[in-house]
């Protein structure tokens, strides 16, 4: 009886790892392997020999590894059956909106930084980065007045910093979008 338990446990474990397959396919695989094990035992005329069972099971390998070979093609992405175009277009839509929002955000931030840099050239007091005294915050202002109780950081250095940072972010966004586009 214990030997039958060996077989039973093996097949049960295999079934667990085959759960990604359709139930009919998984059942078919298990049925075939079960049939093989019993046939092989009969062939040896050793219905209850634990050694023989262990040898046969070893030939199949660990349930997990055996199942992995049956499931491999699913993980590698089999093309969806025809009639599933709706799912594909939803997927595509999600990718498109991600693509667009990432583009808007990245280029938006880049444009604001570059504009701020250029604006400071013409209106030095119109834009600035302020460190609030005794505080932990930094404030970026677009205003004609200095920010109360605070000290301006960078001064005119803000011009190259803002323009450089803006261009860098713009370039980064461009690269990310190019990579995304390649993928889809």
């Amino acid at each position: 009886m214990q030997n039958h338990e060996l077989i039973h446990n093996y097949l049960k474990s295999l079934g667990k790892y085959l759960s990604r397959l359709d139930k009919t396919d998984a059942d078919d695989v298990i049925r075939e392997i079960e049939s093989h094990i019993h046939d092989a035992l009969e062939l040896q005329d050793q219905q209850d020999c634990a050694d023989e069972i262990a040898k046969i099971l070893a030939g199949f390998g660990q349930p997990r590894e055996l199942a992995a070979q049956y499931v491999e093609h699913i993980l590698q992405g089999t093309p969806p059956p025809t009639g599933f175009k709706a799912i594909q277009s939803v997927k595509k839509g999600a990718t498109m909106s991600l693509y667009i929002s990432m583009g808007l955000f990245g280029f938006g931030v880049a444009a604001i930084l570059v504009l701020a840099g250029f604006y400071k050239i013409f209106v030095p007091n119109g834009v600035g980065v302020w460190s609030v005294t005794q505080g932990n915050s930094i404030i970026i202002t677009f205003s004609e007045h200095t920010y109360p109780n605070s000290e301006e950081l960078f001064g005119l250095w803000l011009i190259p910093i803002a323009i450089g940072l803006g261009l860098a972010i713009g370039r980064l966004t461009w690269k990310v979008l190019a990579a995304l586009k390649k993928k889809y």
Partner: protein
């Protein structure tokens, strides 16, 4: 020394089988229907073809998905049902393609083995 030679043989067999296993299975099923255990025992009877159960069954599954073989459960009398495999039309075509490539490879290797240096001898007509 003997052990080392066996080791080389085993490694060679494994490497060669990796590339030729599909041809081996298709050839084994040519003009006959076999079930898994029968096919396995058949191959084990050949010196360089001893594959394991864990290699055979997933491979059969892939060949079936690729429509190179088909399978059907058959129950004979009181016996346990067995899943028999046979070639499909596509499988037969693939077998004949692979067979001619295999023969070409063997021919080329033989040519190399039969023509040691120093001079390079080209096959007649090429």
């Amino acid at each position: 020394m003997m052990k080392k030679a066996d080791d080389i043989n085993d490694k060679w067999d494994v490497q060669l089988r990796k590339g030729s296993l599909e041809l081996v299975i298709l050839a084994a099923l040519k003009e006959r229907q076999l079930y898994g255990l029968e096919l396995l025992k058949f191959l084990h009877g050949l010196e360089t073809m001893a594959i394991t159960e864990g290699t055979l069954y997933p491979l059969m599954d892939r060949l079936k998905r690729d429509d190179l073989i088909s399978a059907s459960w058959v129950q004979e009398g009181e016996l346990r049902p067995r899943k028999y495999y046979q070639l499909t039309e596509k499988g037969e075509k693939k077998l004949s393609t692979l067979t001619s490539r295999w023969r070409k490879s063997v021919e080329d290797i033989e040519l190399l083995l039969n023509n040691p240096g120093p001079s390079l001898i080209l096959k007649k007509g090429s």
